[in-house]
Symmetry: C2
Subunit: 244 residues, 2 copies
């Protein structure tokens, strides 16, 4: 394998996620955006709206992962503190940036660009802007950290301006096998042996319950297509043997 594994950490920011009020969907969108680029999400944290907690996590993730994504907390209200947290994480200054203000002025005339909205032009020193085609208030990139909006429609639109900034790695392929009427306990031992035989791939099994039926999704992931095919054959042979 020539290409290295490239990883990302994701920080989902906002009290509303922790209280159960809002169901996050941004992680799924980010993960599905990254997979074909050969980037694997290594860890995710949901954080409350506290500047120092966010800053510490940003600093830690920036060192541990190749890329970091943050969502949430870059709007115009008092609880939007992510930009300040990023600045704090890296010891950078933060101020209103003319290029960010110019984006906002495409949407709002001078009259409507009140103090609250101008907050959205506050960008950490040295960051490059990330385009927001939906509502124009930009995200930004600071070192290897991409700071995006929390509103899903806006977050997704910002990913369009990130793809070209990412140097991906080896792309993981997968094979899926669906079986019904079989539980994890029936195959756990066999699956563990197959997993031991193919240390370069990961094998997961995910039980499902539907109506009065049940079954398993068995998912094999790895970089080498031929090894995946071999392992899949082993799993299928094991399932046939189990049923006879």
């Amino acid at each position: 394998m020539d290409k290295k594994t490239v990883t990302a950490g994701v920080l989902l920011i906002g009290d509303e996620l922790l209280s159960g009020r809002t169901q996050d969907t941004n992680l799924g969108d980010i993960a599905r955006f990254l997979t074909p680029l050969g980037v694997q999400v290594g860890e995710v944290r949901m954080l409350s709206d506290e500047t120092d907690i966010i800053a510490n996590a940003v600093r830690e993730f920036s060192e541990r992962f190749d890329y970091v994504f943050t969502t949430g907390g870059i709007g115009p209200t008092h609880d939007d503190i992510t930009a300040d947290a990023i600045a704090m994480a890296f010891g950078l200054g933060i101020s209103e940036r003319p290029d960010a203000l110019a984006e906002l002025l495409k949407r709002y005339d001078e009259m409507d660009l009140n103090e609250a909205r101008r907050r959205m032009a506050r960008i950490p020193e040295g960051a490059s802007l990330i385009k927001n085609p939906v509502s124009l208030a930009p995200g930004f990139q600071t070192k290897n950290v991409f700071t995006l909006a929390g509103v899903p429609q806006i977050m997704r639109s910002m990913l369009l301006d990130i793809e070209h900034r990412i140097e991906g790695g080896a792309v993981t392929s997968k094979r899926s096998i669906n079986v019904s009427g079989i539980g994890e306990g029936d195959i756990g031992g066999f699956l563990g042996k197959i997993a031991g035989k193919y240390p370069d791939i990961s094998i997961g099994s995910y039980p499902f319950f539907k109506g009065d039926g049940y079954g398993l999704n068995i998912v094999l992931r790895g970089l080498d297509e031929s090894i995946l095919d071999l392992a899949k054959s082993d799993v299928e042979a094991m399932l046939i043997k189990l049923r006879t």
Copy 2:
């Protein structure tokens, strides 16, 4: 205020969450279970299936929060390593426990209780079992850490055997205000001033976009009902002023 704030950390375990394959719903269920008990979720992490990573997070969360919940990784397959990670976190032994095996024997006869299923009876030393009325394989409590299944139906059923173990704190109340046709940028400044006036409550604003309309949910949270009512009146007065 007599009652202290009681907090929980949540660890959602499984590669399938990080890959975007599975959308987590357990956090929402846990948060909604804890809120009326007066326990606030302080941070959430989604972790991959790696024993040392899980063990480190368990140890850190066990110190930082009053309670810790883990979901996932206690089934019968080779990638179910949460019990080992909990044992590692606290330097405890782990072995097959007769009381856990007895639970499994209510469901499986001796013949069907194969090696894989017996894995589900491996419990860290000194832990107390948590009942699983759905599929019987128990969860367990180790110090302040509750280790639960990942399958949502089973996870929820285990919460029934946790409520009596939790010493809750002050219960947070909330007030919600819905407005349409107003964006965060219209009220950000005013809302920040109201938030500054009432430091004991938290005020969040959550924009929504529906069809061709848009608006805001403004949510006030705090322990004191009368302060919440005062702050809500201030927000409503501000909204009326803004519209006239």
